[in-house]
């Protein structure tokens, strides 16, 4: 089956990101296709490359990165949601005259059209949020 995943909550505050990660990993391990994981609302914070959780805690942004590398996952953060919350990639940081960027290279920034496209193309769109 072709899944698309929507993550609407940030890491740590809500369990939704953990559940989304575990669902995505399980689906891939069972041989299903995950055509895109789209991060919206506070979900965009999953894309931070600067998170440093305590050593005895899971590092969700890192887990997403590793999963993406293993399975060539398409991890997309919504541009308007990300910019509101100060999550920028290198080119967006430059475009807006900011002195740093914080989006992991395993993620890409794009528009809501990518969410709608994923809804159209996937057999199932699964939403994780509060």
């Amino acid at each position: 089956m072709r899944f698309a995943i929507l993550v609407n909550a940030g890491p740590y505050t809500h369990q939704a990101s953990d559940s989304a990660y575990r669902f995505t990993r399980a689906a891939l391990e069972k041989g299903h296709e995950v055509l895109r994981v789209f991060f919206y609302h506070d979900g965009v914070h999953n894309g931070s490359r600067l998170s440093v959780p305590p050593q005895d805690e899971r590092d969700l942004p890192k887990l997403w990165r590793e999963l993406a590398e293993r399975h060539c996952l398409d991890l997309v953060v919504c541009i308007s949601a990300a910019q509101r919350r100060g999550l920028l990639d290198a080119s967006e940081a430059q475009r807006h005259g900011k002195d740093a960027y914080n989006l992991s290279t395993a993620f890409r920034i794009s528009g809501l059209g990518q969410l709608i496209e994923a809804c159209i193309e996937a057999d199932r769109m699964i939403v994780f949020g509060d």
């Binding site: 609302h41 528009g111 059209g113 969410l115 496209e117 809804c119 939403v127």
Partner: protein, 114 residues
């Protein structure tokens, strides 16, 4: 189908869900938008956000029609529980009960809830 469950202010879900609706309209999709629970407050007239410093986007719901989105559903039970009537709302909607709403959800290819 987009399902709005939260009040217009207090969280950003309503505003960002509206953005999804508009983009879905641009993509020429058969979009329905549902307002249920505190989500019915998103459509109320005479919102004034000046003192809380957030954007008053309630008038933007009128733009949904321009994006080809005409299926707006409000859950009857949620409306009644909050003492609201359709005359309190900024757009024309279809009022449906929870059972009918469930049937409509069952017909959808995709349900996104916010």
């Amino acid at each position: 189908m987009l399902v709005n469950r939260k009040a217009p202010h207090g969280t950003i879900y309503a505003l960002e869900a509206l953005e999804v609706a508009l983009v879905a309209g641009v993509f020429d999709q058969d979009v329905s938008v549902v307002f249920t629970d505190d989500g019915v407050y998103q459509l109320t007239r005479n919102q004034d956000t000046q003192v809380i410093g957030t954007k008053n986007f309630s008038r933007s719901y009128r733009a949904l029609e321009d994006y080809g989105i005409r299926k707006l559903y409000v859950e009857q039970e949620s409306l009644q529980a909050r003492g609201l009537a359709t005359s309190d709302l900024v757009v024309l909607v279809q009022v449906v009960d929870a059972k009918r709403l469930g049937e409509l959800m069952d017909q959808q290819d995709v349900v996104l809830s916010f």
